[in-house]
Subunit: 249 residues, 2 copies
DNA sequence: TTTATAAAGATAGTATTACTATTATTTGTT
DNA sequence: AACAAATAATAGTAATACTATCTTTATAAA
């Protein structure tokens, strides 16, 4: 399966589906409408805002990211961007919503072929650490950049004073949905397991933290053999997940 | 042991030390000098800046926290605060440095009395989740506020573009030092354990995340019986830590 | 007691940020 | 050809994150 992303639309070519025939399936993730004022997928400028927004947040960090700088990058104006997003914070959550939907989609697609729940969880860990085969097949250039944002900016989406208010707008539903999906796979591996959702969120957060630590604060990690950060995180998460799940309390 | 905090000085009364005699030990944590321009412990305004700074960050969140608002709270001016701290970001790291030093100090003090390394680790988990006996004996009113800041703001100290530059200033040394101390205790429990530092940092980060999730995004946690957030986090961390450590790979 | 000096207070000012508002221009549609 | 809708261009505001300067106050040495 080869997946091509066109901005926030998935272009899904299943080579195995019909022999010698490329079948394109266009997928759109329905993103919570409260996150934008005008649907960025509805126009070229809108797509540019999101696409180059990812680039810029990645390049300068969320704190230094401004709509003014983004406007310059896309040869447009601040006013135009404000017609799509009420604030840079909403744009960040929009991007993360897309990413969380992507995680759940790719997981569900890939897991269909697997019967063994242990193998399912292993595959999920590959997906969240971006050690996934299909990942490299994704033609879209900016999934790596997106992963970079997720690692260093995603917790800023919820670690704010207004968390309860914005949570009411359902903007964290895709994250919860993904974690609960992972939690169900965990329960398939061990139906007696007491912390399926907590472990799911811990694995996702730890994937980000340990990637960041391995790269920037190596004393907070144990990447001794200096393998790639992704590979190190995958090994560690596999160990953590299965030692927890297989320990009956 | 009763501990009283006076701003950034510990006032340590060991009741067991000499019967019926209160012995006061004043402790100061040496905070990295690059974090301040003028030592806030050297004056009353300085102490107020830190003390009321904790209050205000806790009340409005780090994003909305400004030196102007803080100046009003302490009946002083922005200019005065800027003479102590170059930015609100440096003040945050200063506060976190103090907290990380506190964690290591309280851990080392309490662990002296224990021989069994498993008991040591259990006690450390009590300390980082603030389920610790001495915690409630700490007369100082704002340790709870400090814990609140640590839960929702601490990752913002390192999740920034400039992490490598500020890391060179050694401002994360107390965090690394604490995690490595915990890592050594983990190795005492199981000398073959492959991820002592990673597990230590994971436990600390997970303590914050799960506390936050239990409170604000409960679907990302498993606090089913609705016990206190602290108690839930302690149970989960104990499970996570010992299933990892006792699983020989 | 005067005098130096260091901290703090009072005040002003700047560049940037995070917006909002207004008008003009372009673009596609009937 | 007329129309609406989106965008561009421009201006403006309040707040933020500072820097600078000058005055007052407290403290301590001469």
């Amino acid at each position: 399966m080869t997946i091509t992303r066109q901005c926030f639309t998935y272009n899904c070519i299943r080579e195995d589906f019909i022999q010698n025939t490329y079948m394109q399936i266009l997928l759109k993730f329905k993103i919570n409408e409260s996150l934008f004022l005008r649907d960025p997928e509805s126009s070229e400028v809108g797509k540019l805002i999101v696409e180059k927004g990812i680039d810029l947040i990645r390049d300068v960090g969320f704190e230094r990211f401004t709509f003014k700088k983004l406007a310059e990058k896309i040869n447009s104006t601040e006013a135009t961007i404000y017609r799509y997003f009420a604030s840079k914070y909403r744009l960040l959550i929009y991007i993360l919503n897309w990413y969380w939907c992507y995680l759940e989609f790719v997981s569900k697609m890939s897991l269909q072929e697997l019967g063994d729940s242990t193998q399912k969880l292993k595959l999920i860990l590959e997906i969240i650490t971006h050690n996934f085969d299909s990942d490299s097949q994704i033609v879209d250039y900016d999934l790596e950049k997106l992963h970079g944002i997720v690692i260093s900016e995603s917790s800023k989406a919820y670690l704010v004073k207004e968390v309860d208010e914005i949570n009411q707008e359902l903007v964290f539903s895709p994250l919860k949905s993904f974690c609960q999906f992972v939690g169900q796979v965990i329960l398939q591996v061990n139906p007696k397991f007491a912390y399926p959702n907590a472990l799911a969120s811990t694995l996702l957060e730890t994937a980000h933290d340990q990637h960041f630590f391995s790269e920037h604060l190596p004393k907070l990690a144990d990447n001794k053999s200096k393998i790639t950060h992704k590979k190190y995180v995958l090994n560690y998460l596999n160990f953590l997940a299965f030692s927890a799940i297989n320990s009956y309390q």
